[in-house]
Amino acid sequence: MYLYDEYDKSVVRQRIADFRDATERRLSGVLSEEEFKLVRQMNGVYLQLHAYMLRVAIPYGSLNSRQLHRLAHIARVYDKGYGHFTTRQNIQFNWPQLQQMPDILEELAGVDMHAIQTSGNVIRNITADHFAGATADEVDDPRPIAELIRQWSTLHPEFSFLPRKFKIAVTASAKDRTAVKFHDIGLVLHEDQTSGRGFKVYVGGGLGRTPFVGHKIREFVPEAQLLAYIEAILRTYNELGRRDNAFKARIKILVHEMGADAFGELVEQEFSRIQPMVDDLPTKELERIRQRFITPDFADLSDTDLGLERAKAEDPEFKRWVSRNCSTHKIPGYAIVGVSLKDHGAIPGDITAEAMDQLAELGKLYSHDEIRATHEQNLVLPHVKKRDLYVVWRGLQAAGLATTNLGQASDIISCPGLDYCVLANARSIPIAQAIAQRFADRKREDLVGALKIRISGCINACGHHHAGHIGILGVDRKGEEMYQLSLGGSGAEDAAISQSTGRGFDADGIVDAVDTVVGIYLDHRHEGENFLEAYRRIGPQPFKEALYGTA
């Protein structure tokens, strides 16, 4: 975990004081909503369908137990007893009152958290691999770099009025758990024997109404020059990105219209101009940040734990949970524990204050005081000793957090949709719930295997429907909620945009349509082939015929 220093703390405190002042002026009528809007957005406050919503950043998805307890406290005292984990490593509170907002921000500041730049046309929360620092398949922990970018981009005067919002993700693993190619800038840390450590840089990826897979504009930017390179990208975008049309203002449109090569050339020109001026500084700063990251004091353990093996042999439920929810840790004798927030029929990403408290305690006792939020609206205990897995599992069971559906059909990403969101055209959550219920039969869900279903309630695509193996987009057709189906997307290293199957379905019809599509997959799949692999082999036609007939 990164520890704030006095400078970090004072920045956040000053910001809250400013916001408290603005809020008081808004409540007394001195500021109009129009005047207040920019200020509240810069502090993560939205006005949603039924109430204000506060979006709190969880930089690179990392939380300690104190922070998670504090989020639980906020949910209990200022909200309605729950929080909602989003698709970009944030947590949202759906019911806070405006006058209490500065107090909530004070509560957050007390545990080194904030809501700065979780809204508005600025650089948003920096996301990273939720297995960072734990997985065996990474070059190094990408979070110090993510923190460096966070500090550099926080309240950056030049980039506080970008043409549109700007999202950056960082990973250090070839296996992409961050949807890196669907970000405005996606960074992949890798090591080269001759050049040393540096980043592959993707730009112009994104979902929304015009989805694009990001373009690689640099194979290798040395670590020490990364900030200068990112600055060059942002300067180029800030100058040339469209401001006349919000729908065409994201960097992906600029990159698409001028071509990735031409854009990359402009970035290189700017980079060569500014790089000499900022050289070396980031290296020192990165070293300072690294020193403020607490690295877990891992024990020296055997990778095989006899107690664990015995418990697995005696308790098939536990054995199943271990095989479904635990991933390989880089340290022998440890495991990464996945925690699903998608119990069949639950609201994806929602968690009660009580469950947050229980998970925080488990994290404190058994995971080196770390908990992670994933962009798939789940949580992770990243550093659990194998010999503690049984106790952790029992604790998760008691908290209602031991669901074994990670990566399966009912582990659905869903935006809040028309139940909460002022932009939505149709509801997403009830569709996710209905589909998950269809897979409540564990045998069937296991039979289907790895499957990523993603649902968005409008074209802005917060539910990542373009990146789903099965994607669903809610639309409003003359006052009726309708749902379009698309297939074959991926948000992983093999990123792809799902393709529409054809005409849409009503709310009941879309649930049946997913069933139909899954049935076709089961009929056609080869031994060991998952949904996406089968789709890529056989193409959309068999699915379309089953959905719409051959006529």
Partner: protein
């Protein structure tokens, strides 16, 4: 849909500044969480007059995003929003009936088919 021009059969809605909660204007120009207690216009002129009242009411400083939305008259004479989005605004999240500022209103119908799934 919100921000309609004055037409027959409309009600005035807004959001409370302090909470963001959805409210509707009564015939007296006060604001209520209960959509069925809203004032429903019969003519475009009435809609226009309602909007003017909303903009100038004593409670104007308590609300924002004041606008007209289409509504119908239920068989019992009370108003009800036409568009699903406005029905959800009036009732709170359909996936959590226990939430929302309207959750306490006993006489609000929650059985309309257009929000059930």
């Amino acid at each position: 849909m919100s921000n309609l021009k004055p037409q027959p059969s409309q009600i005035v809605t807004a959001n409370e500044i302090g909470t963001g909660a959805v409210v509707f204007m009564t015939a007296e120009g006060t604001w209520t969480f209960d959509v069925t207690a809203a004032c429903l216009s019969e003519t475009a002129a009435e809609s226009e007059a309602m909007l003017a009242l909303a903009q100038t009411s004593n409670n104007r400083s308590e609300v924002e995003l004041v606008c007209l939305i289409a509504a119908q008259r239920l068989p019992d004479g009370r108003p009800w929003p036409v568009h699903p989005r406005e029905v959800i605004r009036a009732l709170g999240p359909t996936v959590r009936h226990d939430l929302g500022y309207q959750a306490d209103i006993k006489n609000t119908s929650r059985t309309l088919t257009d929000v059930s799934l």
